[in-house]
């Protein structure tokens, strides 16, 4: 067994409470992540599940170092990236990519699809960026004719494909996907999940998939962690966690998912 791509140990993060900003002195800190330990194995998708306020998105932003952890460590491919400066981090940037929840707000509305995908490649000195960007468009089954369009001319599913293409273009070793299917219709959601499965298998990617939807995670991820109030309440093989959840919170979470079967008593079960 090879070493995991990412090793997270004792991860803490506190942010200033902007609502309680005093006139003088420092704002009080709110502890959002309260000591997390887990690994992200190579060439797999790890599911990170939790409800709003669980800290899952904050954790995601720590993993790609958009946020700097307050304590603990993140080892990425053998390097400690916990406190790297922006300059030192830029060497690793290419390999730490992210797909955002809302492609409308993560894609600059003023840039064409081609520029959105090829821009980052040029920045990292990849040659033939335009040609490669067009290849990536094919890879996400969007097609080259979309190259000259702008984000607002695309449907939700197409925009999310651009978001995926943009992350893939740099051929990263790690991709974080933050709630990337939650705003989509079920049929589009199914297509995007299929696409992710295909890409992960073909490109041997390592991915962390953040979601509030356990059902989607069940399909896509081999392992998962369940987050609540900044702590991991349960972790393990997805199939195992679903078949025999240990923590009461996981049990409640699973029970609250409405399956598309008619069942009059479901609402009455506690």
């Amino acid at each position: 067994m090879t070493e995991p791509l990412m090793q997270i140990r004792g991860l803490h993060l506190s942010l200033a409470d902007l609502n309680a900003r005093p006139l003088f002195g420092r704002a009080p800190q709110i502890e959002i992540l309260k000591g997390l330990d887990f690994d992200i194995p190579r060439e797999q998708v790890l599911g990170i599940v939790g409800e709003s306020g669980s800290g899952k998105s904050t954790l995601g932003r720590c993993l790609v170092r958009l946020l700097e952890p307050t304590a603990g460590s993140i080892r990425f491919d053998g390097t400690d990236i916990t406190h790297l400066s922006p300059q030192a981090l830029s060497l690793h940037r290419r390999h730490l990519q992210m797909i955002f929840q809302d492609p409308m707000s993560s894609l600059n509305p003023r840039h064409s699809v081609l520029r959105l995908i090829a821009g980052p490649m040029r920045l990292h000195g990849i040659e033939g960026a335009d040609a490669k960007a067009r290849e990536v468009l094919d890879r996400v089954h969007l097609g080259r004719r979309f190259a000259d369009r702008f984000p607002h001319q695309l449907s939700g599913g197409q925009r999310q494909r651009v978001g995926i293409a943009r992350a893939l273009a740099l051929e990263p070793s790690f991709i974080l996907a933050d709630e990337i299917v939650s705003g989509l219709d079920v049929s589009t959601q199914a297509q995007i999940i299929r696409l992710l499965e295909e890409i992960v298998a073909e490109m041997k990617l390592t991915m962390a998939f953040i979601s509030h939807d356990l059902s989607v995670v069940r399909r896509l991820c081999r392992q998962l962690i369940v987050l609540r109030d900044g702590q991991i309440v349960e972790a393990g093989e997805t199939a195992q966690v679903f078949d025999a959840p240990q923590h009461p919170y996981t049990i409640a979470l699973r029970a609250a998912i409405p399956l598309p079967d008619v069942d009059d008593r479901w609402l009455d079960e506690s």
Partner: protein, 280 residues
């Protein structure tokens, strides 16, 4: 956007742009267009009414003022100073203000706190008084007027651009640019700036209108260019003393001022709608 709204927006843009174009032409071609020398006095022809009144003299379309100078010619020459002030002072205020606003909004922390305090202090001075004070210190003249407007009005830009930048900086595409490895300055220029540009355009066009007014005010209190040189504000000040005998002296520059300020504002709004790909 429904078709009717779009037509309205087009009409607005063209009307406003048309007026500004006329002004520009008047300013550049003043020596050729103006029927007479704006400074030439003729005390025998003082306070002639405009052409639609009885007793008008042919050749003096808008009449003459109390010294017998041709109002139309003074109005045409007045556009020069109005436009120079609008573009130079407005542009300078926009430049200083947006750089400050972008830095404060994007960098946050100490930079933001310092710039923010400076803006607060700056804006607590009454602007017209501040301008009069500045011009009094710098000495009268066109350059002082321009400096005064830029020094006072940059805060209008800084405040709005700072707020807008803060909103943009929290957008996912800024995070997204960070993830692909853009530098901070690169993100500011290529991600944030284009998105605050439409706001900047609107502010700038409003500011140009304001600059024209401020210059007129300073002329009115005799602190702008020398009182002989034709400026709209100077003409209004001069016309005020004659309001009971010759209201046209006052009305012509006021109408010009009103149309110009209105057109700058409308042109900016219209242009914003045209350049914004999200609205287009």
């Amino acid at each position: 956007m429904p078709a009717s709204t779009r037509v309205c927006a087009m009409v607005r843009l063209w009307l406003a742009g048309g007026w500004l174009l006329i002004l520009l032409a008047a300013a550049v071609l003043a020596p050729w267009i103006a029927p007479r020398d704006p400074l030439a006095q003729d005390l025998f022809l003082e306070r002639l009414p405009p052409f639609w009144f009885a007793g008008a003299e042919p050749g003096y379309l808008l009449g003459t003022d109390s010294l017998g100078r041709d109002v139309l010619s003074r109005l045409v020459y007045g556009t020069r100073i109005a436009l120079i002030v609008a573009f130079v002072a407005g542009g300078a205020a926009a430049l200083i203000g947006s750089v400050m606003g972008l830095l404060a909004g994007y960098l946050g922390g100490w930079t933001d706190r310092i710039i923010g305090r400076v803006i607060d202090i700056w804006m607590s001075f009454p602007p017209v008084l501040f301008a009069i004070l500045l011009v009094a210190v710098l000495g009268t003249g066109l350059h002082s007027v321009i400096i005064a407007i830029a020094v006072i009005d940059w805060t209008r830009f800084a405040r709005v651009i700072r707020a807008e930048t803060m909103v943009q900086a929290r957008m996912d595409y800024v995070a997204s640019a960070q993830v692909v490895g853009r530098s901070r300055l690169g993100i500011l220029v290529s991600e944030v700036l284009p998105n605050v540009l439409p706001t900047l355009m609107v502010l700038l066009s409003l500011e140009m209108g304001i600059a024209v007014i401020v210059e007129a005010i300073l002329s009115f209190v005799n602190l702008s260019v020398s009182s002989d040189d034709p400026t709209w504000g100077g003409m209004i000040a001069e016309g005020r003393t004659q309001i009971h005998f010759a209201p046209w002296i006052l009305i012509a520059p006021m109408v010009a001022l009103f149309l110009t300020v209105l057109s700058f504002g409308q042109f900016g709004e219209g242009l914003k709608d045209r350049i914004d790909p999200v609205l287009r």
